[in-house]
């Protein structure tokens, strides 16, 4: 690993984003490496289909690169990127009929939330096989119900409860207050709880 590469890996988002805005494509590449997992997983949760999610994520990164000059606070790159991903995913949903989702029961799929592993690592809290089937059914139902939530509620819940993003980051990404995030998360939870009462 060169010194230049390790410098980039150690640099903050703000430093990298500012360098990328000045035309440093390697700095942008470092930002892609740092945020691609969270961005892709967010797109996937919003679209329910990995092919679409990958397309949206790539478009979002390219859009971000072209508009870096308009980013007034480079240190908030992640929030800004996730906002682009959210908007792109929502536009994608509106603009095209989604291909049939095959994601939740895709064979061999699965990885940890941080995305470092390619294998389906065992969940320490994994239920027994019989419970496993009902757990998968619950997730299928949740994914379906998520699609019916209003956009802000869906985004807030996906980022907070699935992506495990801190409320402050969710608030920045959605350009709203932390209190608003809490309220949207609660409202979304309540709707899902009532809708999925037979599965909970």
């Amino acid at each position: 690993m060169t010194d230049e590469t390790s410098d980039r890996m150690a640099a903050s988002d703000g430093v990298l984003a500012a360098a990328a805005a000045g035309g440093d494509r390697l700095a942008f590449d470092a930002l892609v490496g740092r945020h691609q997992r969270r961005a892709t997983q967010l797109a996937y949760r919003l679209l329910g289909n990995m092919d679409d999610a990958l397309e949206v994520t790539q478009d979002s990164f390219l859009r971000a690169y072209r508009r870096l000059a308009s980013l007034s606070a480079p240190e908030k790159f992640q929030a800004w990127l996730l906002r682009i991903v959210s908007n792109q995913a929502l536009n994608y949903r509106r603009g095209r009929a989604l291909r049939k989702s095959s994601s939740l029961d895709a064979p061999g799929g699965g990885e940890q939330e941080d995305g470092r592993g390619e294998l389906n690592l065992p969940d320490p809290s994994a239920p027994a096989p019989v419970q496993e089937a009902s757990a998968k059914e619950l997730q299928r139902q949740i994914q379906s119900a998520l699609a019916d939530l209003p956009e802000k509620q869906r985004l807030a819940l996906v980022m907070f409860s699935i992506q495990k993003m801190p409320q402050k980051e969710v608030a920045q990404a959605l350009d709203m207050s932390v209190e608003a995030v809490k309220w949207h998360v609660f409202t979304a939870r309540k709707k899902l709880k009532d809708k999925l009462k037979d599965y909970l």
Partner: protein, 214 residues
Amino acid sequence: MKPEDIEYQLSQLLDGELPAEQAQALRRQLADDPALAEEYRRYQALEKGLGRMARQTPSVDWELQRDSIRAVLEREALLKPLSAPWRSVLFRWSAAVSAAAACVVAGLLVMNWFVSGGPLRGKPVISVDFSIPKAHAGSTLQVAMTASAAPAASGSVLAVEYEEHSADEYAPAPAELSGGAWAWAERPGTVIVSAGGASPSQAQDPGFWGLDEL
């Protein structure tokens, strides 16, 4: 407290965000109210289900994704327009070269056209003596022209007056030249010379000249 307020507190309790005192009070309430406890259990189950979904993301080749983004950016960089100063210099050069090339080509074409007689072979042809002053709004111009019968040698010199009008009141009035040629101003600042017809509409058009260019 409204039911919705209690549910909001359940949501906060789930996230560990309820102040200690309120959390303790709510836990007491949960212990005393089985229906409320059941609601809380459902919230917990839902949250667990949501959390498990993060583990169900299909495998992605992250390096491939990164490579494809990198490739698009590199391709775009190759196609990226030059920076403004270079663009400006190149534009000026290309404009100058284009203008020079156009002049040469036009000159060759005109020369060839006059030498061969072109479509006006055997008919009166007009060439223009570029000896007129710059146009000024409202001024009367003297346009000196040379009439010739191609491919024969050029002949008499005649003068055409034309008055430049404002754009609003402009009305072209073709002036008949000797040898069946016509000259008129199509718009202020230009002179069109035609030849070889009984009227301006039938005449062949050797070209037009902006007075500013002459």
